[in-house]
Symmetry: C2
Amino acid sequence: MKKFMNGAASMVAESLEGFVSAHDSMVMFGAGRKFVRRRHLAPGKVAIISGGGAGHEPMHVGFVGHGMLDAACTGHIFTSPNPDQVIAAIAETDTGAGCLLIVKNYDGDVMNFEMAAETVSGRHRIETVIVSDDVAAQGAARRTGRRGVAGTLIVEKMLGAAAEAGSDLAGLKALGDRLSTQIRTMGVALSGVTVPDTARATFTLEPDEMEVGVGIHGEPGLYRQKIADADTIASMICNAILADMGQHNSDQALLLVNGFGGTPTPELYLIYNVARRLFEASGIRIARSLVGTYVTSLDMAGLSVTLSLLDEETLHLWDAPVLTAALRWLRHDPTNFGTEDVHLS
Amino acid sequence: MKKFMNGAASMVAESLEGFVSAHDSMVMFGAGRKFVRRRHLAPGKVAIISGGGAGHEPMHVGFVGHGMLDAACTGHIFTSPNPDQVIAAIAETDTGAGCLLIVKNYDGDVMNFEMAAETVSGRHRIETVIVSDDVAAQGAARRTGRRGVAGTLIVEKMLGAAAEAGSDLAGLKALGDRLSTQIRTMGVALSGVTVPDTARATFTLEPDEMEVGVGIHGEPGLYRQKIADADTIASMICNAILADMGQHNSDQALLLVNGFGGTPTPELYLIYNVARRLFEASGIRIARSLVGTYVTSLDMAGLSVTLSLLDEETLHLWDAPVLTAALRWLRHDPTNFGTEDVHLS
């Protein structure tokens, strides 16, 4: 295991300090450096707070900013933030309209965000949306529910846009729960992941193997098989997503191809190219696309494909302006884009 | 070597198809798919054209768009595009004000862009800017000049902004040559890189080694040594850059920490944090920052640090609006940023 760090114990704090320093017009540390927050809060807007273990960057700190999160709480690597961090974030970012917590479905995260919500329940109005977009969870994992993986980005983007547009807490909670039924993700890994503290890989693959149905914490996936070509891998993933999605009325979707940290961007675009064709052949028009390394598992080689069905409302929320370190646009899909439109600064 | 691909021969073309499809409001293929161009050309503007081997993505195709490149020509992996591609890009994007070619200093690239420029010299006005920002080249490499590495991003951004603002061809050429004296980069690798065609790593490091002074084609660096902690590595790089930069009058700079493809973003921010402090301790204020994976060497683990001295003109060019797949802002460092400023779509 080789990493650019001074020591495993300090690496998250040092990296966050660099992040805040690089983006200091947009974000700042909250009290006691317990979380990263938007520098300029919008009074009267519901605060959107998320977080989780470190090791998934740019999620969540990279999504703090206008149109997305108000605060992100980062734990140690692959470890939930503690309730104290979440409580501090709530206290500092609730400007009167309450807080929506967006939590990936892992026991530690769910427990700690829940404890925080209970602790402040007398002083703040809180709702929680659990993200569980991973189609691959089964067996024991299936009983505690699907994991929250790359679809979290979409949930945070859309709820952030809705909050920015003035949705109230109850409306955001209802929207978040509805999004859960429309977003599906599946991942494949070509390597395990080395956690700095233990300096051990979480699983080891032979040079000709891949792990299918992985999450973002280096946990083993559904099964292991010989590596296949890109057409075969994309087809496997897309079929699993479509089968899991079942009957639906949507004819358009957002397609997100997300790298896990160690996979070069050109490979993501290559898989995107195949997946887009496959989904479109099944009758789903890919109306919006996002390809990049956003929801990671440290330096794991691998990727996930996320399909998010779109209706008029969610399309509008996706297109709404966003200005964060990792995700930024003023309007998406600017089909009439001309030079006269961008001299806005 | 494990990659998401259908075969080494088709992977660049398949990936480019995905890229164009994902960003089709912004870019399109040029004639014969020989290059990727901006969908909406600006008549009367000098066309900015760059390119190089594949394997460095998002550079250059990710930089095609408003405020940066008009066209990018992509060769096979780590292989220059051929003159025919460059000629086609010139013919299609020159709207009357001529073309500026931005070329990284490698023999193959320089030769092929030069041949293209000579071939069209009767029909188009052409100037060429050679990027050579790598402080690490020495010995034989030093005699043919420094390599062009991550500083290329800065040259393309600034020249793109100047062209957008109406600079003529002679002005852009002079600016480009001046930029060369103000940008310095040094890179360190924790792994070699596996080229898909050969399926072999270009160099192999022991688990406790790092390669210092690497470029972006997997070529060996200046020397190999035991891996050090982040403070030591950043200090080595910053000192080499400052020593090479020599006497200068600038008191502010842009700091770019660039990942080579296999290094997670948090490690880049960690190195950024140290490097920023070191440069500021030496009297250079870091006025602008960019941290991310922009100029890559396939999946190589490693990073480079680039210092670009800023004056009033270059600061203004850096801040100018840019809208490409990989780099986008309407204005940088929005210190007075408030919610009222972004509802622009």
